[in-house]
């Protein structure tokens, strides 16, 4: 079991734990109960994957080397077959990676079927299926159809996979460097992406700088995390610090007690700040400049909920949610643009929500704010691009936090199970995704919304 689950501050998932006892396994197998897996999560020093990586397809030069550099033991179909280990083998595969970058038509999809059908049974628990395709670009209608078909494969496959395994698609625009590929692999194949499932990530070919040490890709970076006193914000601050960043943990003055503890745990600094203040961005930019010589990463995590059915929605429930969750971010980011507040290579990561994609009863205000964030990052990506800055959103699904712990048991249990991994995510899952977006290697990802939802049934 991973440390992350033990230290999670959310509600204990007793059902998942029960289903992972020997009796629970037997019973659930007999009567067909869902059996959520104990997900593989990242710990420094762990191998990238629990077993060898089977690489299929072709086209991207340097992919195998990048995967190897990322820490995978890469085997190819031919090699595996030649060694007579196929099928079946005690040697479980940690990941199935298919290079579909040269997919040139619907017929080419058959090779993917062959690759996956022949090896899926050997995929280990918490294994990874990763397909690398290209963005539909209008060059050829057949190509585009085939490229879009990949999306359907991973979405359906994600729902078939069991035991914590996930399937994702990387959709390339241009040809990324080996370092960019390695960076992708270090996230998507590792335990960092434990709760990212059934997603398509669009990656542009942008020059990236390889970190001096892949264990601390954020070394030398100055990051601020709002709402850092607890829950997901605290986890983000910890992950950024672990990855080498100097972290400014910001939160409301009233949350200062918990904030100081977070800051001291990660050797960061605590900044008591109300992000809805018009001066907040200026204060923060100046503070980071004076104290650390500049600012590289801004994580907009501060957010509130004031749930009400629209029929009962009053201004006092509507206005603060929009002000804190959305308006403050729009204002803040505009200020970053206007003042060049971020150094080149900077990153802005905004916390959205699957509610912003799928909607949720009683959350028109919250849904509006989170959908607004998705629109905001898409809209702001081009102007920031010129400065080498990316802006993305991360949309968590159902994450176990102190907040969800307060939900009624039945709603909580349902919410936990309605995703492909049949369990809630942890704050650290969101944090790892945020951290990865902040990496230098993620320069090719901007304007996107990355879901960390275990492929939640809601919201596509």
């Amino acid at each position: 079991m991973s440390n992350g689950e033990r230290t999670s501050r959310g509600a204990p998932d007793k059902y998942r734990d029960l289903m992972n006892t020997s009796i629970g396994r037997t019973v659930s197998a007999r009567i067909g109960l869902p059996r959520p897996a104990l997900l593989r999560r990242f710990r420094a020093g762990d191998a990238l994957l629990p077993g060898p990586l089977l690489l299929g397809g072709n086209g991207l030069t340097g992919l195998a080397q990048a995967l190897t550099a990322a820490g995978a033991e890469v085997v190819t179909g031919e090699a595996a077959g030649a060694r007579g280990e196929h099928p079946p083998s005690a040697d479980r595969l940690g990941a199935l990676v298919y290079d579909a970058s040269e997919l040139d038509g619907v017929a080419g999809l058959a090779a993917i079927r062959e690759f996956l059908a022949g090896s899926l049974r050997r995929l280990s628990s918490s294994g990874r299926v990763l397909i690398i395709g290209r963005e539909p670009d209008g060059t050829d209608h057949g190509w585009d159809a085939a490229r879009q078909a990949l999306d359907g494969i991973v979405r359906s496959l994600g729902k078939e996979l069991r035991a914590g395994a996930t399937a994702n698609l990387v959709s390339l625009a241009g040809t990324p460097s080996s370092d960019a590929l390695q960076s992708l692999a270090r996230f998507l194949l590792s335990g960092r992406a434990a709760y990212v499932d059934g997603q398509t990530l669009r990656v542009a070919a942008v020059a990236v700088d390889a970190p001096a040490d892949w264990a601390t890709p954020l070394i030398g970076r100055v990051a601020v995390v709002t709402g850092a006193a607890r829950g997901i914000g605290a986890a983000i601050a910890e992950v950024l610090a672990r990855d080498g960043a100097k972290v400014i943990a910001a939160d409301l003055p009233a949350a200062g007690e918990a904030l100081a503890k977070v800051a001291n745990r990660i050797n960061g600094t605590a900044l008591q700040l109300d992000v809805t203040d018009e001066s907040a961005a200026g204060t923060l930019i100046r503070y980071a400049g004076e104290r650390f010589g500049g600012l590289d990463v801004v994580v907009h995590n501060a957010g509130i909920t004031r749930d009400k059915l629209m029929a009962n929605m009053k201004a006092e429930s509507w206005d603060p949610v929009l002000a804190v969750n959305l308006q403050s971010q729009v204002q803040f980011n505009a200020e970053l643009l206007r003042t060049d507040g971020l150094r080149p290579g900077g990153r802005i990561i905004c916390l959205a929500s699957t509610t912003g994609l799928a909607g949720n009863r009683g959350q028109t205000n919250y849904g509006a704010s989170k959908a607004g964030i998705i629109g905001m990052v898409r809209s702001m990506a081009p102007p920031f691009h010129g400065r080498g800055i990316t802006i993305n959103a991360v949309a968590p699904g159902f994450i176990d936090t102190a907040m969800t712990h307060r939900m009624p048991l039945a709603s909580r249990e349902v919410a936990r199970r309605i995703n492909s991994l049949q369990q809630a995510g942890l704050p650290v899952d969101v944090a790892e995704t945020v951290g990865w977006l902040a990496w230098p290697g993620s320069a090719g990802i901007s304007g996107q919304t990355v879901r960390v939802c275990g492929q939640n049934w809601l919201g596509a």
Binding site: G256, E257, A263, N264, N267, A270, Q272, L273
Partner: protein
Amino acid sequence: MPTREAVVIGGNRIPFARANGRYALASNQDMLTATLDGLVARFGLQGERLGEVVAGAVLKHSQDFNLTRESVLGSALAPTTPAYDIQQACGTSLESVILVANKIAVGQADSGIAAGVDTVSDAPIAVSEGLRTALLAANRARNLPARLKALASIRPSYLAPATPSNSELRTGLSMGEHQAVTTREWAITRQQQDELAAASHQNLAAAYERGFFDDLVTPFLGLTRDNNLRPDSTVERLAELKPVYGRGESEPTMTAGNSTPLTDGAAAVLLGTREWAAERRLPILARFVDAETAAVDYVHGDRKADGLLMAPVYAVPRLLARNGLTLQDFDFYEIHEAFAATVLATLAAWQDPDFSRDRLGLAAPLGGIDRSRLNVTGSSLATGHPFAATGARIVATLAKLLHDKGSGRGLISICAAGGQGVVAIIEAA
């Protein structure tokens, strides 16, 4: 010896809580550790070895003999940071600031934290003198019969605990009773006192509202602001309160509203050289200029001139003379509001020609001050007054005021039990 400048880098305190309230179960060490940790978090000093940490408490358990060092060990500072305890009543943490600043000035330290903490809620309770004497005698006894004899002297009445009081030991009078005499001698009116008290609350409330304390205060045990603060305090409301001190007098003027309540809390200030601060890219809010202490014979001295809380009146002219300044050369005055009347009597004395001539040896009085520069973000009447924490609260507050203004000079005046006064000057850096 060449001297260096000691600068104030910043401060931190926990909100002050009225006694037996929110912090009733917190010890001095709990509060001091939380305050140090908040300071460490604010300035990213985790694992840093500082020159020293100097702090103290007025009400202290005997087991807390090494309170500051124990707090450092429990904090996020490097465990190799040395520490020691001091105590100068309500002047404790301003005196800690002076000590740290002096060590920095003479080159014995590059950095340090000056702090203070006090709890009235978790005050030490001693056994009675009779029981203590008997137990000590039993402890000294060399054999069983002698020990039994000593223990046999214990009477049931000895078992009642001895609770600490805030009375002056030599006069048996509480601070309020002392101040009541001073108040009458200087003819300070109820109206004047209530006006000062209302201003203190209003100034503190306004400062909180504009976020002034966002980087000076870290919440503790769920308390986010000083809970003695009454933002809606007015002279009219204060006028309704009944006098609590000087009740034997014909027209007592001191009420719970214009006197400081018993309070729990802690405060700390980070000091260093300019270089030390610059190497860590830490802000420099103000520079420590000079300090002076004074004391009066409140036991046998003059009823008017030697009031228990009047010592700053004597310290300030000496400090001004040494620095070639007049009382009007300041942009901010932070005069600790032990009682509203303390501040008013202090200001009255500086304007009194006879007193200035006879007792201060001045040809002309120091004169009045621009009251709009006095305690501009509130003071102890509104925040409350955990004795040893007040000096550090004021230094950090004033340093920030000077920094925000970008220039100028501030005067700090704190009266202390035992007829003492600690005063200091800091300037924008």
